[in-house]
């Protein structure tokens, strides 16, 4: 299974993305969906008290796309949504850089809100990405958070 199977809904990339371009694609020739919800995750300058200087993102090519496709398909089963786009960057990212984008359109806003948060919650615990944090105290792999498990378990 190639990455192209999931296009244009999923993109794993090292280059940055442009929010406006992504939203324009979600809205193009799509006058039926009145609601667009986006989530953008960025590299924060602080994590648990440490000064972060950058992140390095690793992933499991092939499985990443497959797990995101499954999450999107679950979201489509649960909510009445139109278009979906998930972008996740990999490689080295500086503070303030965009890491992840989730965009969802729907006719009624609650569907896009719920599906977007669901996709993020599941991505956090199921998609094979790992973050290494480069801080003023050296580098280390981030530990998974129990709170993320709990959020995904809520749905």
């Amino acid at each position: 299974m190639t990455t192209e199977n999931y296009a244009p809904e999923i993109s794993i990339q090292s280059v940055d993305f442009n929010l406006a371009d992504e939203v324009a694609l979600l809205e193009k020739d799509n006058a039926i969906d009145g609601a667009v919800v986006t989530f953008t995750g960025r590299v924060r300058n602080k994590n648990e008290g440490k000064d972060v200087t950058s992140l390095t993102l690793e992933h499991y090519p092939g499985m990443t796309e497959k797990s995101l496709a499954k999450i999107i398909s679950q979201a489509k089963e649960r909510w009445r949504i139109g278009r979906v786009k998930v972008i996740h960057r990999v490689g080295k990212l500086a503070i303030g850089e965009q890491i992840v984008f989730v965009g969802v359109t729907s006719m009624h806003r609650q569907d896009a809100f719920a599906a977007n948060e669901f996709i993020m919650d599941y991505l956090k615990v199921q998609a094979p990405f790992w973050k290494k944090e480069n801080t003023n105290q050296g580098e280390q792999w981030l530990a998974a958070k129990t709170s993320d498990e709990n959020k995904a378990a809520k749905w």
Binding site: Y60, K66, H88, M120, L123, P128, F129, A143
Partner: protein, 82 residues
């Protein structure tokens, strides 16, 4: 023949990204883990970490999962993307 891949902290701890197992008697992920753990003290230590996750052919699985020749098995720490 089973292809085995490791990611993130696990890959660094083992200093290994990928290896091939030719033992045809391995039928489950749990057995494969035991086989890998027997390689050295360091591998023993890494493979007894409770939080280790595993996937077969890109699907998350538990130790009971059966494996057959040609499968790709992955071991990695809990994921931290997003």
């Amino acid at each position: 023949m089973i292809k085995v891949v490791f990611f993130a902290a696990l890959r660094e701890q083992l200093n290994c990204h990928e290896l091939t197992i030719v033992n045809e008697n391995l039928t489950t992920v749990a057995e494969l883990k035991a086989e890998l753990a027997s390689k050295s003290e360091q591998w023993q230590k890494v493979f007894t970490t409770g939080s280790l996750l595993s996937a077969v052919n890109h699907n998350m699985v538990d130790g009971e999962q059966t494996i057959t020749s040609g499968d790709e098995v992955a071991f990695f720490p809990p994921v931290t993307g997003g």
